[in-house]
Symmetry: C2
Subunit: 226 residues, 2 copies
């Protein structure tokens, strides 16, 4: 567990920027930074949630063991808070989180966090904004998945990585086909088939994990039409 100074941290959240110097001091004493390698488990479902998790850098998948199969709820890149709702709404984590790329995380004591909300209105408002945006996003994601058929969801996922994560139409998929399937809620086989279909129809070029979008307009259309 390294010694870090929150005060001079260059990767502070919007909420943390509202903290006063004295509060930063408190934060520093109740905050632990840990680094994770790809595949490492950051948060485990059903374990006790005593810390707020802040992703300083890296890429993380948030997943949950559903009644039938594993489901990846979302893939988030730093900087972001993780699983705030679990910390506040319940005592246990409702999700697991696993590093996809090497990732730095700050664990912050939840009681300290609550203290900040209590004493610092700006901080509270920022957290509420974060929560609200997060909820809207995941509901839309959920809605999309529920109504689209497989091909549309895979198109979605590709566009997501291209624009939300890598800002490039060419990228290396950081997850396996199984993970891609879990993310879109389909089977490994279907995911594989759809990728080769896209390749054959010259919509994207696929070479192992390397993906390159060649006909973005069509891909977008597939994503929207379901």
């Amino acid at each position: 567990m390294e010694k870090t100074s929150c005060k001079f941290c260059t990767l502070k959240s919007a909420a943390a920027h509202t903290l006063k110097n004295s509060e930063i001091g408190v934060l520093e004493n109740n905050c632990a930074q840990v680094d994770f390698m790809p595949g490492d488990n950051i948060v485990r479902q059903n374990s006790l949630s005593t810390n707020v998790v802040y992703i300083k850098s890296g890429l993380v998948k948030v997943h949950i063991r559903g009644p039938i199969r594993e489901r990846i709820m979302k893939i988030v890149k730093a900087p972001t808070y993780l699983c705030l709702p679990s910390s506040f709404g319940d005592k246990v984590n409702h999700f697991s989180a696993t590093a996809i790329e090497s990732t730095s995380v700050c664990f912050i004591d939840v009681t300290v966090f609550k203290q900040f909300i209590y004493s610092n209105g700006d901080f509270a408002l920022q957290i509420i904004l974060d929560l609200s945006k997060g909820e809207l996003q995941s509901l839309h994601h959920c809605l999309n998945n529920a109504q689209k058929q497989n091909i549309g969801r895979v198109a979605d996922a590709i566009l997501f990585f291209a624009h939300e994560i890598y800002n490039s139409t060419t990228f290396v998929l950081p997850i396996s086909r199984q993970d891609l399937a879990d993310l879109t809620g389909i089977t490994r086989e279907s995911a594989s088939r759809i990728l080769t279909d896209f390749h054959n129809e010259k919509i994207v070029e696929i070479e192992g994990k390397k993906i390159s979008i060649t006909n973005e307009a069509l891909l977008r259309q597939i994503s929207e039409k379901g």
Copy 2:
């Protein structure tokens, strides 16, 4: 628009209980109560969201016009806040809300609401708790629907009405088959078929909109096994 006194309102939210007398006064001047009949539109998707909506009494469906078809996100009973995330996360409503039973609603100015969060830590914490619990619920609901097949979702819906809404194994379904289909993400025809299947297999007794669960153990098993 009736004259009401928030101070003596017996249906206050947990958050509102934390307000000081002076704050209640402010609330009273920025709060309007409106009554709705079944079928009335309370909040309209894509309209400007300038108010926080608090359901004092009644039953409401929250729905959204998806890319393909209408989708009912959830059915909530009073007392509860509605669409908080829309108010904070964005300027427009992401959902519509429609009264199912006759319903009393308080519209509260969002800037006043923000003021409370800013000045009253208890209030902020309560709102964050509400948001967190709401998000966890909707994510689980989403997850369930995504992995279950139709029969399991309908079983879910029946159990939901029995236990969350009416606290009785016999009740009158307050919505149409079409709505039930939109709630579970299936077609009207499938919903109808599954209900008659349940009836034939003596799992529930169905007579128009009157529903009576006769084999709850089996119904629960269907709901869980997908």
